[in-house]
Amino acid sequence: NSKVIQTPRYLVKGQGQKAKMRCIPEKGHPVVFWYQQNKNNEFKFLINFQNQEVLQQIDMTEKRFSAECPSNSPCSLEIQSSEAGDSALYLCASSIQGASAETLYFGSGTRLTVL
């Protein structure tokens, strides 16, 4: 079973509403990633953190998405104003460090439906 915990498992929002999801990375993993898996099962990288610092993020994340990984609290990803195209599975992953050989461990995801 995955040790990366994501809540809620399912999230239903209306267009224009905020949508917030949380992730507790595996213990001892300072690097956290957020991915979007669309209905065609394709993965899109959104943002990653090392401890509380953002390492990389894509443009869409900068505009409508906000994310943080505060110390001693779950990481979160929030969509400020949901759109129908945001309906997807949002996956959080963590790794022990940022080196390229290290494995990413994924949570089971939050499935967002925007009506």
Binding site: S2, V4, V31, F33, N40, N41, E42, F43, F45, N48, Q50, L55, Q56, L91, A93, G98, A99, S100, A101, E102, T103, L104, Y105, F106, G107, S108, G109
Partner: protein, 113 residues
């Protein structure tokens, strides 16, 4: 930038036949390659990853060989099982600190009796 190509979107096999899922990549650096498997309604899980010393990684009967000359990391298994039915993703991670995992489009493997 980095990219991963999985040419087959859907593979259907009969149980007991060999499996081969293709993966090629492009990267400016010398990346590590990974295969992840995702069963229905489950988290993606690591199946195997490349080594630096040309060893062939193996797990659950699956193996893959990194060929830098052809930029490939094809996944193989000698005999498919019904439980192998899942989505399979090839992915790479390069040498940048904190580097993200870049995924291919995935291959849905269906094994039938």
């Amino acid at each position: 930038g980095d990219s991963v190509t999985q040419t087959e979107g859907l593979v259907t096999l009969t149980e007991g036949l060999p499996v081969m899922l293709n993966c090629t990549y492009q990267s400016t650096y010398s990346p590590f390659l990974f295969w992840y498997v995702q069963h229905l309604n489950e988290a993606p899980k690591l199946l195997l990853k490349s080594f630096t010393d040309n060893k062939r990684p193996e797990h659950q009967g699956f193996h893959a060989t990194l060929h830098k000359s052809s930029s490939s990391f094809h996944l193989q298994k000698s005999s498919a099982q019904l439980s192998d039915s899942a989505l399979y993703y090839c992915a790479l991670r390069n040498n940048n600190a904190g580097a993200k995992l870049t995924f291919g489009g995935g291959t849905r493997l269906t094994v039938r009796p």
